[in-house]
Symmetry: D2
Subunit: 459 residues, 4 copies
């Protein structure tokens, strides 16, 4: 049974135009005027955009002694409610000697039966040895062409410069793209101890111990190492001007560097950590922490100028109860916030309606650029004949006030609580199936498919 | 009679893929596998790319007491020989009090019967008065949504800051885009007099009197004025790091600024002006002059990072005889060089085969970005169903040595003389017609059509 | 009769040390331990610093249809009350055709009988013709080696790029230093009309019509013109990051550029213009206007890093009654504020006590660097045997709350009203004479001497 | 017996003036006209400047399996021959667990009997443990207020970020200044292995494996760590724009960062490593390696703008025989070149006579700034009554061609071989004693004194 989306305006990364879209099965069959299908989806007064891709999530992630409460089911349900039809989650091996393949199997085992959106994986490199070197090839063979490296979380996930250079070089040989969480873990650890020693134990200590300079330094270092290894690099959660500056500086020299701001850093500021309510502040604890408005201006300009390319969430959601593990010691607050459900409405509201970015740039940042960088374009990220029919019918007049009470996420709070958004999905369509309409999710757990990603030509 | 291009790899700005292209009449009818048409165009082992657009030409331009020898016929013949299917030429009113409409009529009158490629116009603002203010609206109505301003050529084309602010504000109101030739004309004029007074009369004096700082200053000023007037701005012939830096700095603040390097500045350096042969050096005299290799590196990085968007030629070709008007006084050498025929092969050879830019970035810079910025996308600049069938079948293995002897341009020399290029058109197709194949132009003068360009939404 | 200053700590630009200072007549005779003199000045627990030099004042300046109410007498009385022993005032010819020499005579005529501090002059170039070219040499012969150029005040003081290049070139030949008020006067004038047309008539319109970009642009342009003319340049009242960035960028290329922030811009912000009290806001109207705190951070960093060298006041003080000339039209509010009396205490309080700058950097910025740049070092700006005995005995514990009620200036308000300062002169000594002590001025009008300044070696 | 220097022009960091200098014993007793002394030193047509201070030498340094052939005697003899009267040498503990005090004793033991110039020490931190933490205080007590950290020389001298943060924090508490050799040792080691594996075994591999990015990264990181630890930082041997840019960027934010280019990097370029003569190239092997001319321009501009403050040599001189330890494996070539004898003439010739820096800036960079940063001003680095009579009578007309054959250094070659210099010492005076005149050293080994340096106020 075919479907046709009628009456809408298509917004792609490269242009805006009026046309109908015919969906046959899971794919887009045709785009043009006066198309006919078995079922009509009304897009009058709406934009039709490629479904969002969130390149950075941590669903059910075991971390800091607990496991992120957001499951693959609730997380992907939240995603489709907000117009996101694909998530890319991080697989984390079991310690520096852990097997990559075993971890990949474990992640697939957890994700497959639960997901309602399509999903793909990044692999984390949290140590370095011969087996990891070998397994990287198998991982690429499994459709994972990106490897993440943590420069922070000392004593846990952190790798050092040696290991990064070795892994980046291996990525270059395999046609894979290295990703980096860029904060200087040594200095963060030292500052954490310093602030604890000074009696700063609350969530504000989290922000104090991870200043922008610490992130900018690590970003700069990761870029140099990638350049030396002869491979592009992708910096996750770019939160500040210092990091953005390092990226711009490299790009101005012809280096291939990508930067990913999060919707949280674009819109929320460090003042959140000074809220008198410990729970309120602790729920906002993530790394890097929120920054001030000057940093936000920098990130927005990066999106419009092209020095930053994509917007993600780093969705890694812990309950308030979990956050309270860090009462009396901010270093023990599980790091992470939600955002998957709200990324697109918040970005549209704060970005498009204010004129900071165009609708086309919105599509590029939430979908098309991501698909291109992750090498799944135009299967994903495009409205083209043959592309997966991952679409969002976006009603630019629709409004709501974000609230934990009304969200699909199973977390008991929302960092955007009270934010009024204008611009919301009317329908979310995943591979031809309407998975969200009229405020209802109609998706069956396990319907999501794994999206394999081919390697790039080896360098 | 339909045509089908078979066996090639389509290179678009956003992706590379294998497909056939069906052309019905003047437009692309379909893209996909196994298409059938009346006539088959063989693209085996070739790329199929959108026909090039040169956003900056001066054919038959009256300038500095003579008229550029390259005619609309010979110039567009040169264009299609090199894969360029659309040129955008500059209309220049007759003095600061000249009528814009009269000039537009004159340009159309000259172009229409001669052109073998499609063409469009930019309008120059070389003075400011009530009539110009009024005529700008009519000009926009005639399909010209870009207005060029010269900050140099004192006593001739130059406008001052007052006039630029007024004109830019008018552009903002009309949804038009201001273009700027950015060099500080006062300082250029003073330096010219200084060097002449010092006895420097040869072509090297041209370079000495137009240092990069003079261009960077004017670029910076034009951007500020555009920002104050609330309108984007497009800087033509960005030749140096100083100018590029001003553009980057503005973009990093969220300003909408476009930069256009020329293929000449990307590949030729200032050493050319020190050639002992006066003719050799004088033929390279253009403004801004060629710069050193550090500037070239800056421009290439701009293309890969996105801070510069398009590559043009500023084709404004005078014969050696015309150049000799400046014997004994470099300020009287007619400014301008050719490039229309060689832009794409030279850019491919020096940019793509070296790895500085990707094939997709090549397409973006020579066609797609230009079409988007000039608001004729996807009629031009795209390989999409419904787009004009302006295509180039590009043979990446084909080579030649550039030589005036073998060129279509009617000029008696070529600034790229002796350059070996790899990557040349096998066929050039303009609105469905094969206008160049096997080294032969088969186009009839007058076949080119005017491309009207709608205004942008007014600011 | 000799004097000896005993028990203090000398703070010079290069070092801090304990020593007595012996003054014989008008000069420093000796520096060392255990000096003996006829009169002892007690510096116990105090610093002894070179008397302040304010390189930028406009006393009794005819401007915008009125004359600054602060006279040479009241202004220099205010100066010595705050530790400043030399002021450099701007001579303004009578229109673009006015004689420089006649203006210099007029200024000397006004200043000489009134001044209680030493004084020197800058000459303004407000037009360009053969007589000005010639008179510049005579002006240099009269001990004035600096020429000021206004890029703003269109229709009044403004000169264009042509005139600046010509005058800068003349400065180069004469060994004189060009000074520049850097704001794009064309754009300011256009924005003023725009805001008035939009009904913005109050003092906030003054700030809106002179954004930082307008200043940054002009600074950048002035630097380029100076570079082309082969002469250093000094930018007065650098108020913002944009202007500072242009200066840094030039200095990083080896150009000789000096930048002068004002104590007002270092400490007061744009919020002042939004005060509901028209008088309050209008009293703060000066050009450039106050900026936000990010700009202040930039200026402070410039003082510590050396990219900005001196701190001035641009003291140009109008009464509230005079300010009211601009009721209903902000463009008619006389531009200027006071500051001469408070520069040193405010800079010490906000700069030294906070750790932004060291005491040695304070001395450099308020005195030594100025004397070096203006070529009167070490007659002024130094504590060396043979230097003029211009000294301030500075009590770092002394505090007061700034108030118009208690000031020496004859203006009826003070832009620093209510600011608490820590660090004030205990004694101010001018050429060996104690001119201020115990809150009392003891100086006789006319005692101040003209400080002739020799040219630099011609370029 | 007193001495008087007559007829010269004193060049100090802050001014140039004519005066005689009276020396009583080891110190300057008076400065002024018409001074009388027992012995007259003729300075007619000469400049008198503070004796040079070289803040960075490695005499008799045990390194890379050998010991630098230049001894304290020959090295300081070379120093005084070139106008340098004080050297600051690096003490290196015996491995990461070595005692600082033991090393200091060993260095003093070697230096004391040999030195003909005054000397002081920096202490290297090459590991981190409780004893080092404790000994640092004793080291400061011994007159050493600077601690050097190597970010390169992996497996030998290198410390990691953790150790740097700890040591920098300790410096902050003690009022000491951290120094950093900034190159990413992990990446250097990896690149060395890569080039060796690729068959690049000659000296050019040394340059290839230490690109400017590797230095810039480490500089940026060191600055961030110092900022986090709350202490200024001094970057030794800044050789490139990348490193200089990081320093400028930090200074523009108000951070206290010092940068030290070497005279070699200011004047010699990377082409040296491509000399066909292995010996020639290997003799130039030092870290960082020489860079191209764009980097040289950056360094010179840093000296004139103040973003770089001092010029050193890193004198660490091995014989050709020693260099040959690295035949067939560039990583085994002992790193280091000479320069102590030629620093001042080469800097004067290439800097002052070309107009890049002024004579005052020359004095600042070779002496005064160093003394201030190292906290020995005005005992050293000044021409003031009471200062040590360390002076150089500098003849700006005197010329020679640098040659190993004529040098005091005992090394069998000179990296400046064949360079013609204009500007040489006529006399070098150390604490009142003429130690060099008429091309003769007249100094007795052991005459040099240790210069103790007090700590700064603790942060
Ligand atoms: Zn992370
Ligand atoms: Zn994450
Ligand atoms: Zn032009
Ligand atoms: Zn042109
Ligand atoms: Zn002014
Ligand atoms: Zn002023
Ligand atoms: Zn070193
Ligand atoms: Zn060293």
């Amino acid at each position: 049974m075919s479907k046709v989306i009628k009456g809408g305006t298509i917004v792609a990364a490269d242009r805006t135009y009026e046309a109908d879209i015919l969906i046959e099965g899971e794919t887009i069959a045709a785009i043009g005027p006066n198309l006919v299908g078995d079922e009509v989806i009304d897009a009058t007064d709406a934009f039709i955009m490629p479904g969002g891709i969130d390149p950075h999530t941590h669903l059910q992630m075991p971390f800091m002694g607990t496991t992120a409460a957001e499951t693959f089911e609730s997380g992907t349900m939240a995603a489709i409610s907000g117009g996101t039809t694909t998530v890319v989650d991080f697989v984390i091996p079991d310690g520096p000697d852990g097997s990559l393949i075993a971890a990949l199997d474990a992640w697939e085992g957890r994700a497959k039966p639960q997901v309602v959106a399509d999903y793909s994986f990044h692999m984390c490199i949290v140590g370095w040895n011969e087996r990891i070197f070998e397994e990287m090839q198998a991982v690429v063979g499994r459709g994972v062409n990106t490897f993440k490296h943590f420069m922070a979380y000392k004593g846990a996930l952190m790798v050092n410069d040696d290991e990064m250079f070795a892994s980046f070089s291996r990525c270059a040989a395999l046609g894979a793209l290295p990703l980096v969480h860029a904060e200087n873990g040594d200095v963060v650890a030292a500052l954490q101890q310093k602030f604890l020693a000074d009696g700063v134990t609350g969530p504000e200590g989290h922000a104090f111990s991870r200043p922008p300079e610490v992130e900018g330094e690590a970003t700069n270092r990761a870029i140099m190492i990638a350049d030396a290894a002869g491979v592009p690099v992708y910096i996750v959660h770019v939160s500040c001007e210092q990091s953005h500056e390092a990226i711009r500086r490299a790009r101005q020299k012809g280096m291939r560097v990508y930067g990913e701001p999060l919707v949280q850093h674009l819109t929320l500021d460090e003042g959140e950590y000074f809220n008198a309510d410990w729970d309120y502040a602790a729920r906002r604890v993530m790394s890097p922490p929120f920054r001030n408005k000057a940093h936000q201006d920098s990130l927005w300009a990066g999106l419009s100028s092209g020095s930053l390319q994509v917007v993600a969430t780093d969705h890694c959601a812990f309950t308030t109860a979990q956050k309270r593990m860090g009462l009396g010691d901010f270093t023990r607050i599980p790091n992470g916030t939600g955002g998957l459900e709200d990324r697109m409405p918040v970005l549209w509201t704060r970005g498009v309606t204010t004129g900071r970015i165009t609708p086309n740039e919105f599509v590029a940042a939430t979908s098309t650029n991501i698909a291109q960088i992750l090498n799944i374009y135009p299967q994903k990220g495009a409205i083209l004949p043959g592309s997966d029919a991952d679409l969002v019918v976006w009603d630019p007049k629709k409004t709501k006030t974000i609230s934990a009470a009304g969200q699909r996420s199973i977390i008991d709070y929302n960092v955007f609580e009270g934010v009024e958004v204008t611009g919301l999905p009317r329908y979310t369509i995943s591979r031809g199936e309407i998975v969200w309409k009229d405020g209802q999710n109609e998706a069956v757990p396990g319907r999501g498919k794994f999206v394999a990603r081919r390697p790039f030509p080896a360098v």
